[in-house]
Amino acid sequence: MTTLTPVLTANWDRADSFSLAGYGEYAAAKKALGMEPDAIIKAVKDSGLRGRGGAGFPTGMKWGFIPQGDGKPHYLVVNADESEPGTCKDIPLMMANPHSLVEGVIITSYAIRASQAFIYIRGEVLHVVRRVQAAVREAYEKGYLGRDIFGSGYDLELVVHSGAGAYICGEETALLDSLEGYRGQPRLKPPFPAVAGLYACPTVINNVESVASVPSIVANGADWFAGMGTEKSKGFGIFSLSGHVTRPGQYEAPLGITLRELLDMAGGVRAGHRLKFWTPGGSSTPIFTDEHLDVPLDFESVGAKGSMLGTRALQIFDETTCVVRAVLRWTEFYAHESCGKCTPCREGTYWLKQVLRRLEKGQGTEDDLTTITDIADNILGRSFCALGDGATSPIHSSVKYFRDEYLKHFEIGGCPFDRAASTVWGAGE
């Protein structure tokens, strides 16, 4: 049996966990600043840490792409724009333990030879913004940021930057445009940010949880981190359970744990109900059903079953939920958040929304199912960035697993489900 491994969440039950008193003295940063930057990059490579923002790219390798001795400023930008539907790990992490992030920023910046870093945090989470601002201020006051940190001669400035409501800014190049003061629209790659990122200079963009994991790797060693998880998906991660589950919440566990194990810990699907479908890593990852309860939640195993580990955002829906309704709402989200830069995504999500609205009302035909999968086929792989691809995941996967449920809507001329039954207060216990 897999057990939980609290690292980033370990101090969250302390009332002062968000302050230095409740966190500690940045011992890992102090240690790191006494090391060669390349030795830190090597340690993070050896640890096997892969990006925790969804894509799973090896973090140390990303850092290694930054050219050295190029005479240009380097930048670290933390992607704290957590907005993927279902994803709710970075927000509580920054609320309860912002110093793990700030300490990670210092180590990461030093490793990639950056003297300026930014935390780009979504604007709609005021108290989280406050906590991160306060942690940064505390770190400055202690001399952990600013000039000559720990007497090492290393200087680092860190700015907390609030976004203004745009899911697309979680896409790394759109985030850079936004941070430069433009509309947040993705850039063509290559050049990749490692070569030409912020202000056309070498830039590393890492997710909050990735950066916050770095101090523990420096403190405990690459082997310690690599000793958790699976062969290719190493370490721990925060798994976020939400929806029709008895005890929703944040469960920090080694990668490779299964939903069955997590649900056991969380008291199962809410009383009197059973699992119908779920997302392994947010709305952009194809849905799974009860046949996937034992799939190890690591990058490879989830991929082999046709979905993606994503952000480990496990949204649980029981048998009272209409899958067509869920897919419609996700589709409306993608249409709302499409930045409009490329045609397949802008037009495709718009038309998907129209057809799905008709389907959900039971006013569609079987041909509409062909239409939505055709539209999705024309978005997938043809869009400028991953937002468009993500929009097709719920479409393709729901038609694959629940075709009959779509058909049922036409047969009876409406939705066969009682909306009240799926609410928190309508559980009918």
Binding site: P85, R130, R183, A253
Partner: protein
């Protein structure tokens, strides 16, 4: 649209210069400056956009092009309390749709509208990263977790009556929309230390780990 009075202008300029000074290139300060002008009037006004353009040496068209891209910048005055209801799939299904329906009927206003007394505006929100607290509402971007139709209506009634309202994970006092915008501009209000570090679902995993004696393996630092 009239421009700012000399006193307001002087104060905003001081704040703006401080913010601009944090960035290697001044244009990066545009989003924070838009939050700043929103903190003055409760929305991003014509005068506000003019001010941003002047401070950053941009054309007004460039500023408008940016401000209209982001949903948090309001083009009409928001209420003193800007109330959001999450209607993304998970919250909608868990009850957010019913909350929205009952709340709009109760207040008589719709998406993006403000009550006649200027107290409350409503917005349909996309996911606000608190899914384990569904159904979620936000007021001036503070968390109001685990809502139901009755609690939602009571919340809005209390806001309109001027009663004290406390976020579930936030400071002891709910600040106004303008005050919130100022924090987002990068000018802290000193309230970070208030409220719980973590609450409810955020602690479920840790509680279970402690009850079972589960920990991460011992590392070199221990």
């Amino acid at each position: 649209m009239t421009s700012y009075s000399p006193e307001v202008r002087e104060r905003l300029e001081r704040d703006a210069k401080e913010i601009i000074g944090r960035y290697p290139r001044s244009r990066s300060a545009l989003l924070p400056l838009l939050h700043l002008v929103q903190s003055e009037e409760g929305y991003v006004s014509d005068a506000g956009q003019e001010f941003c353009a002047e401070m950053l040496g941009l054309s007004k068209a460039e500023v408008v092009g940016v401000s209209t891209f982001y949903t948090m910048y309001k083009r009409r005055p928001a209420g003193e309390y800007h109330v959001g209801v999450c209607i993304n799939a998970l919250c909608a299904i868990m009850g957010g749709d019913q909350i929205w329906d009952e709340l709009t009927e109760h207040t008589g206003i719709g998406n993006g509208e403000t009550t006649a007394d200027g107290k409350v505006s409503l917005e349909r929100l996309e996911c606000n990263a608190a899914c384990d607290f569904a159904p979620v509402m936000m007021v001036n971007w503070e968390f109001f977790d685990n809502q139901d139709p009755e609690s939602a209506k009571r919340l809005v009634d209390d806001l309109r009556a001027g009663k004290e309202v406390t976020p579930t994970r936030g400071p002891g006092r709910l600040c106004s929309f303008k005050e919130a915008s100022r924090v987002l501009a990068g000018l802290p209000d000193g309230l970070a230390g208030e409220g719980p570090a973590a609450a409810g679902p955020s602690l479920e995993g840790l509680k279970i780990a402690k009850a079972n004696g589960w920990t991460a393996p011992k590392g070199a630092s221990e």
